[in-house]
Symmetry: C2
Subunit: 151 residues, 2 copies
């Protein structure tokens, strides 16, 4: 553990988040997600017993979201639901992101299940949480930390 | 890079500091230090071009010092100097530690060169900086991050 850093950010997870660069994406997945198979060839870390809200908050405490794109957050659309539908957990996670200043609701994009899998294929790594709610899968795109451009 | 974390803390260094436990020691060494040989079998990370003051400040921004011991910081005593002598750089680093609230001057112990090497032998890892001042070698003992004991 380290001062000022969420203890859920293990040494391996902290290293992973830190080594990602601008535009790299990390998947935060629920406990049913096909992390092992879709993550073949990638780093897959596990947070057993940890819910998505807690995992997301820990990651976003250090992880800057990309402000070069309109929607740096994507989530897996619940099957057979109308456009705009979000599960209670998705609403909670997105509301947490708003409250922490990470991302507003309009910066979060719904992706149909198989489109989500395609996105996972291009992701840098997967963190599988212990979240037992179904459809609780998110992709976060990393932004930059930069000094102000000199005038 | 990550939000709120000194950019000198590379993914590997952040992982290393995070995985250390209570009482583990890290060596911050100058550019002439025998890091490769004394560090055989340990992790040795490098910060070329980075001075000791900057490296120490970055590490101590996240690394808690041990408050179970009187002197969680040790430094290599300059050869052939009287007890209590500290080089200008040692005084600067120790003054920085005081200013940041990490450790007071009395919490920093002088170790003769070969006693320092013995201590390095028991250390968890070595970070070799680019510090060109001689005798700029420190050992930091890790403390705990804990919630208050319940009354």
């Amino acid at each position: 553990m380290l001062k000022g850093i969420d203890p859920l950010l293990s040494p391996d997870l902290l290293k992973l988040l830190c080594e990602m660069g601008h535009g790299d994406e990390i998947v935060l997945a629920d406990a049913n997600f096909t992390a092992g198979s879709l993550g073949r060839g990638k780093t897959v870390l596990r947070l057993p017993g940890i819910g998505m809200r807690q995992a997301c908050a820990a990651v976003l405490s250090v992880f800057p979201l990309d402000d070069f794109v309109a929607q740096p957050v994507a989530y897996m659309q619940v099957g057979d639901t109308p456009a705009g539908y979000r599960s209670e957990l998705q609403r909670e996670v997105i509301s947490d992101m708003g409250a922490s200043g990470s991302a507003g609701s309009e910066q979060c994009e719904a992706l149909e299940r198989f489109a989500f899998y395609d996105r996972v294929g291009r992701a840098y790594a997967i963190v599988q949480t212990g979240e037992l709610q179904a459809w609780a899968n998110f992709v976060l795109k990393k932004g930059v930390i930069a000094e102000e451009l000199r005038k």
